[in-house]
């Protein structure tokens, strides 16, 4: 469809979540913004192929995800950036403890395989349905579900089981097995 003012507004409204997705994928604020810029240019260059009435955010996320996988994975992910640079993109610095916990989370997220990381972010943070996430990643719904599950298991092992000092002084973890009673 043509680039109408209302479509322009809709694209603009997707920019904050596109940036969040790009930063979560790349672990680097500057690179993420380059990725968003390229996504916007590609989207507008190919706007004729966008189906009116279909899911615009999902369309934009698909472009960004494919760009990331084709161009950006060639570049070596820089671990020091993943650990340090992201914090600089924050407007407000979290309190020290929260900040440490946050960095640990970021580092653990970066340890996930790419497929699992993107599935977890799309479903757990961007709020896409399993169906939309499957369309964005070009795979089956069941595949997305299993990637999200594996991502969650691995994150909990990395953060809360292996890092058991969070839970007590004696290298043990108290696992809630009963729920609320």
């Amino acid at each position: 469809m043509p680039l109408t003012d209302s479509l322009r507004d809709d694209i603009l409204a997707s920019v904050p979540s596109l940036r969040a997705f790009a930063i979560s994928l790349s672990g680097n604020g500057d690179r993420a913004d380059d990725l968003v810029q390229e996504t916007l240019l590609r989207a507008i260059a190919n706007i004729d192929s966008f189906q009116p009435g279909s899911n615009l955010p999902a369309w934009l996320f698909t472009i960004l995800r494919n760009l990331f996988r084709s161009d950006y994975r060639k570049r070596r992910r820089e671990v020091e950036d993943a650990e340090g640079n992201y914090a600089k993109t924050l407007k407000t610095q979290p309190a020290q403890n929260a900040h440490l916990e946050f960095e640990e989370f970021r580092v653990a997220l970066d340890k996930l395989p790419q497929d699992q990381r993107e599935a977890l972010i799309l479903v757990g943070a961007s709020g896409f349905s399993y169906e939309d996430a499957a369309a964005i990643c070009g795979c089956a719904v069941g595949t997305i579900k299993s990637r999200v599950n594996r991502a969650r298991s691995k994150l909990s092992a990395l953060l809360y089981v292996d890092g058991a000092e969070d839970f007590g002084p004696d290298n043990t973890v108290r696992a809630v097995i009963g729920g609320n009673s």
Binding site: V15, R42, A45, S153, A157, D162, N171, T172, V176
Partner: protein, 83 residues
């Protein structure tokens, strides 16, 4: 709340087996992971639209302009020696 102490000596795989034996990942850990993931993401979302993107979308009047701009950006990246 009922707690059971998990022995965490051993590899991550051993621990995951133990976690599975105890009825899967517990709800508290899952909710913490979900919360941290969204906190990280929403922090960026709350920053809104940076000026550079608002200007970019405003000034492009159609697909041709976007293609031209993309070519220019590629050229700039090359002369920057970034790639």
């Amino acid at each position: 709340m009922k707690y059971k102490v998990l022995n965490t000596r051993g590899s991550v795989d051993d621990i995951m087996k133990e976690v599975k034996k105890q009825g899967g990942l517990n709800a508290e850990i899952q909710s913490r992971i979900g919360h941290q993931l969204r906190a990280m993401y929403d922090d960026v979302v709350r920053q809104g639209v940076p000026d550079r993107f608002a200007e970019l979308i405003r000034k492009l009047d159609g697909p041709e302009a976007a293609v031209a701009q993309a070519a220019q950006t590629d050229q700039a990246a090359k002369t920057d020696g970034r790639d």
